[in-house]
């Protein structure tokens, strides 16, 4: 995440003054809206916080996007649209960004939302006193003095953000980020009410205290059970909001949640693993599966502590080739997942996965090639390759690991033993390179290939396999300032297909049941799944 972020650059690079159309829930002509405009969805776990500068999980961010509004929002396709900022301008060679705020944005207590609220929030994010787990984000945004403020060397007031007047926000950067504006859709950059936070301290997010500026206000919160938000009449675009009330219910178990969906208590819930084909057949208009920005893969430990065998790329290639991804996606997962031959999912914006050679072969060809490579590397029936495949304890991971080990055994005579560890133990083990082959998963932080490929660079903090390739490092470095970085990304994927530092297994899909009335307005094309309740509407069905 130290890397450069390039979100939707095409829309932003080289522009001077951008004014995009505003829209919330645009209900198409002729659509009959349902009487009941409420939306109830399920969350797996209680969110960590609904304080924008503290939140770190997806379920918390989903709530915050309803309660608060930042400078910019995303539309149903993930494109940037105005939020509190009506327009924005990059100057000084992308080192300065100026946002013009709308004058009709209000807090839920009636106070106007001003540029000072953003200045306060951003300083608060960086302030070591706040101890935000997302404070690194302000450094990633390359704000002036962000690093020094985080380290406690400078006062938060020296952060490169200022408000020359109530409705102008000026941001000074240390690196010319062409895509800076898109970074302001992230929840941690949303404004927060200084007076309220100073008055109530940690208690400020309680329903009786909270003041927010989004399309909804928090009306009820019973931790571990439910959180309710209702339409905010003071929201500047309330006229175009349709959904009146949004409720999230915490239901830990997938199957219970599905039962409650069928009992009519929920409008949206995740489909338990393996159930998708059946539900799709029985409820074709409710069972949805669409691509997500996530990859599932196995990481080879290529550090000194890793097995000698894995240092031979023929072994890595052989294991990757012999893995029949179609069986895993079609027979094991059955949720419309995509077999993966590259690290970056095809759904990533502006990214076309290269036609890597092993992806074009048939599985029989891959198997034959794998055998050949394994033989050449010196492993055969008399001298079988042995290693341990480590995954974090979960039925789903176990199934895939079992199938993979079986494939390697049958095709290559490889003896892979399975080992599982509880989540936090697993993370610790993996980050200390105390493994041979380990399960990994990665979801993009933003919709651009570098969110994945940066993991393969030598300095990356998330490069658990300690793979190091000078050419990839250089390509990724150059991509940060390249006019079209995609050529670099393609090249990186090609090198990876040859070097095989990881075995890509599949690309995730979001698989859930959604009430038929809401299917029309659900943003299936927003691969980051940044959805806003104010853009939804329920159709009469």
């Amino acid at each position: 995440m130290k890397s450069v972020m390039k979100i939707l650059t095409a829309a932003l690079v080289g522009t001077t003054f951008l004014v995009a159309p505003t829209f919330a829930a645009k209900v198409p002509e002729g659509v009959k809206l349902a009487e009941d405009q409420t939306f109830t969805y399920r969350a797996l776990d209680e969110h960590s916080s609904i304080d924008p500068q503290i939140v770190e999980d997806v379920s918390g961010s989903d709530i915050i996007r309803d309660l608060f509004e930042g400078l910019l929002n995303q539309d149903a396709n993930g494109n940037l649209i105005p939020g509190v900022a009506e327009s924005w301008e990059a100057s000084n060679g992308n080192l300065t960004y100026t946002f013009k705020l709308r004058k009709n944005a209000k807090w839920s207590n009636g106070d106007p939302v001003t540029a000072h609220d953003f200045v306060y929030a951003w300083r608060r994010l960086a302030d070591p006193e706040t101890a935000s787990p997302y404070s690194w984000y302000i450094e990633l945004m390359s704000l002036e003095n962000a690093k020094e403020v985080l380290a406690g060397e400078k006062d938060p007031s020296e952060l490169g953000v200022s408000a020359p007047d109530d409705y102008t926000l000026v941001v000074n950067l240390t690196a010319p980020l062409p895509y800076f504006a898109a970074m302001t859709t992230h929840a941690s950059t949303f404004p927060t009410p200084q007076k309220i936070i100073e008055k109530y301290g940690k208690e400020w997010t309680k329903p009786e205290n909270i003041v927010s500026n989004g399309a909804y206000v928090l009306t009820e919160h019973v931790p571990n059970e439910r959180l309710v938000r209702e339409r905010n009449p003071l929201y500047w675009n309330d006229a175009e909001t349709v959904i009146e009330k949004v409720t999230v219910l915490v239901i830990n178990d997938d199957n219970t949640a599905l039962t409650r969906y069928f009992a009519g208590e929920l409008d949206r819930t995740e489909i338990p693993s393996g159930e998708y084909p059946r539900l799709k057949e029985e409820y074709p208009d409710q069972a949805l599966s669409f691509p997500r920005l996530c990859s599932y893969y196995y990481t080879f430990n290529l550090s000194d502590s890793g097995p000698e065998a894995f240092k031979d790329k023929r072994v890595r290639q052989a294991l990757s080739y012999a893995l029949d991804r179609n069986i895993i996606t079609e027979q094991v997962l059955k949720g419309g997942q995509f077999p993966a031959y590259t690290f970056t999912p095809a759904a990533t914006a502006n990214f076309t996965p290269p036609d890597v050679e092993y992806a074009k072969m048939t599985q029989a060809e891959r198997d034959a090639k794998a055998k050949e490579l394994m033989e050449a590397a010196g492993y055969n029936a008399d001298n079988p390759l042995k290693f341990e495949l480590l995954y974090n304890t979960s039925e789903g991971h176990k199934k895939i690991a079992t199938v993979a080990a079986q494939m390697w055994k049958q095709k290559l005579g490889v003896e892979a033993t399975l080992a599982n560890q509880e989540w936090k133990v697993f993370l610790e083990t993996r980050s200390k390179q105390d493994f041979e082959l380990a399960r990994s998963g990665w979801c993009g932080d933003y919709n651009e290939a570098s969110t994945f490929l940066d993991l393969m660079t030598t300095p990356s903090g998330y490069n658990d396999g300690k793979f190091s390739n000078a050419e990839i490092d250089k390509l990724m470095q150059d991509a940060r300032t390249a006019a079209d970085p995609n050529a670099n990304y393609t090249k990186v994927e090609e090198i990876m297909a040859e070097e095989m530092p990881i075995i890509p297994v599949y690309h995730y899909t979001a698989v859930f049941m959604l009430d038929p009335g809401l299917v029309d307005s659900w943003p299936v094309n927003n691969v980051e799944q940044n959805w806003y309740s104010r853009d939804l509407y329920r159709v009469e069905k």
Partner: protein
């Protein structure tokens, strides 16, 4: 008796202290920490967070600070996972929920269990006995993680009588299924203990004497047999009550009740140190208290027992 209680309380204090120290050492020795995640935090950010929560201090200092906080301010510290809440908030929210459904489960388990046991013993070896024993064995072998989804399928999906989960401040329709699911296996154990101890009592000499005197059945059972027959049940009730009011992760998971049982398991998985400690202390306190209560009840029921 009074001295006995005082002595027990005096022992409870060092017991709690040992409990706290052992839990603390165990938690700290588990790999990973509250801020270990798929995306490791940059060093500076982690340092800021640890400084805020006092996790940068030496272990013994953290432990001392923690105990001092509890004793002087009743403050069990902040939750590392739910950053808007303290441990006191977590317990204050979850424990009443668990206490409510645990209390009702206890009432149901005891009243149904004791009645079944008595009936089975009175009609020993008749179809009523077999029926009662059949029910209690059935209830015993059906674990609550099987029971819970079955209840939901029957009462929510088929009959549409009860909501499939949630708590809503403890409205009755939300309590029924958790109580059934939680109480059945306890109910079954109580019924079986009650039945065998009742049988034993009914075959004893003083009951024979009572029968010989021509006392009515009702008088024999309720006046003479019940009290001694209850003793083994009471031994079981102490830990059973604590078990029920400290909650069940299964109940909390299936019925989304938001009780403390799920919180306890989650806090361990999240390495939410202060929440684990807080709930452990609460449970330790309850266990010690109810064991004491059972001992007192014992002396009250059985005049032979003197402390």
């Amino acid at each position: 008796m009074f001295r006995f209680i005082l002595r027990r309380i005096a022992i409870a204090i060092p017991t709690m202290l040992i409990l706290i120290i052992i839990s603390f050492v165990l938690i700290k020795s588990a790999p990973g920490g509250p801020f270990t995640s798929e995306r490791p935090l940059p060093e500076q950010v982690l340092a800021n967070i640890e400084a805020k929560y006092g996790l940068d201090k030496p272990y013994h200092q953290q432990l001392i600070d923690y105990i001092v906080g509890i004793v002087t301010r009743g403050d069990f510290g902040p939750s590392f996972r739910y950053k808007d809440r303290t441990v006191n908030d977590v317990i204050a929210q979850g424990f009443p929920v668990t206490l409510t459904y645990g209390f009702w489960s206890f009432i149901v388990a005891v009243s149904v269990g004791v009645s079944l046991g008595i009936i089975a013993a009175i009609f020993h070896n008749s179809w009523i006995d077999y029926f009662a024993v059949g029910i209690s064995i059935g209830a015993q072998v059906l674990p609550n993680f099987v029971m819970a989804p079955i209840l939901v399928i029957i009462f929510t999906l088929w009959l549409n009588w009860l909501p499939g989960g949630g708590w809503h401040g403890g409205q009755w329709q939300y309590i029924i299924m958790p109580v059934i699911a939680l109480s059945t296996s306890y109910m079954a154990s109580i019924a079986r203990i009650m039945r065998s101890s009742m049988l034993e009592v009914l075959n004893s000499n003083f009951i024979r004497t009572a029968k010989a005197k021509g006392l009515s059945w009702r008088r024999i059972i309720f006046k003479h047999a019940l009290k001694p027959a209850l003793l083994p049940v009471i031994t079981y009730l102490g830990p059973a009550f604590v078990g029920m009011i400290t909650g069940s992760v299964v109940i909390d998971m299936y019925f989304s009740t938001g009780g403390i049982g799920r919180e306890f398991v989650n806090s361990a998985l999240n390495r939410d140190y202060s929440v684990i400690m807080g709930i452990t202390i609460l449970f330790g306190f309850l266990t010690i208290s109810f064991n004491l209560l059972v001992d007192i009840l014992y002396a009250w029921i059985d005049p032979k027992i003197r402390y």
